[in-house]
C-alpha cells in the first residue's frame, strides 16, 4: 500500500479557504435594517401558552425556573 505523506501546506490552504468563506459572511445589521427582526413573529414572548409549557418543561427537567427574561427583541429601538 502506498503511503501518502501528510500535506500540511494543503491543510493550511484548506483552512484559509474555509476561514475566508466564513469571514465573508460576517455582517453588521444596521439599525435601519432591522424591520424583519422587529417583526412580531420574532418576539420570544409572542405566545403565552407556549411560554408556560416551555417554563413547565424547563422547571420539571432542571428543578429551576426563571432566567428567561431578556430586554428587547433586537429591533435596535432605543
Amino acid at each position: 500500500m502506498k503511503k501518502y505523506p501528510f500535506d500540511w501546506k494543503r491543510l493550511g490552504q484548506l483552512l484559509s479557504t474555509v476561514l475566508l468563506a466564513i469571514a465573508g459572511g460576517c455582517a453588521t445589521v444596521q439599525p435601519w435594517e432591522r424591520g424583519t427582526l422587529a417583526d412580531y413573529t420574532m418576539r420570544p414572548d409572542r405566545d403565552e401558552l407556549s411560554n408556560s409549557f416551555a417554563e413547565h418543561v424547563y422547571f420539571t427537567r432542571e428543578s429551576a425556573a426563571g432566567g428567561r427574561g431578556v430586554g428587547g427583541g433586537g429591533c435596535g429601538c432605543n
Partner: protein, 170 residues
Amino acid sequence: MPTIIQRNVRNVAFGLILVAGLASSSALAEPWAPGQSLPSLATFALEGTLPDLANKVVLVDFWASWCGPCKASFPVLDALQKRYASQGFTVVGINVDEKRGAMETFLKTHSVSFPILRDARQKLVASAEIQGMPSSYIVDRKGIIRNVHAGFKGADTEAELIREIEELLK
C-alpha cells in the same frame, strides 16, 4: 524555490490584504455629528417632495413603520411642527421602510402635518449612520447640525427637543 523569508513576506502581505479587505467591507463613513453641515437632501434621490429648508430650523427624523418608539414620537413631532412652523421651523420625516406599502399603511393611521420623504435606497440613512431608531438631527438656520438624538425616550426627549428648538429659533 523561494527562501523562507520570501515566503513569509508573501504570507504577511496576503494577510494584510485580507484584513484590509474585511475592514473596508464593514466600515462606513463617519456618522453625522454636531458641528457639521447637513448634506443636501436633494442629492439622495428621496421619494416625495422636498420642502424649502433655506433659513429654517429643521428637525430631520429617521423613522420606520416597524419601530415602536418612532410611533410614540410621531404625535410629539406633529405637535412641534404645529407649534413652531410659523417661526421658521419644520420637521422632515425620512422613512426608511423597505416597502413603500408599509409606510403608507402606517401614515393612514398616524397622519402628521410635516412632510415625509422616503429613503427607498437607504442611502441617506447610511450616510447619516444613525445609531438607533428613531434618530433625529436638529439643524440650525445655517444648515449646521446642532443636536443629535438617538432613540425616543418619551417626555425626556420631548423636553430636550423643545429646549433645543427654542434656543435655535431665538
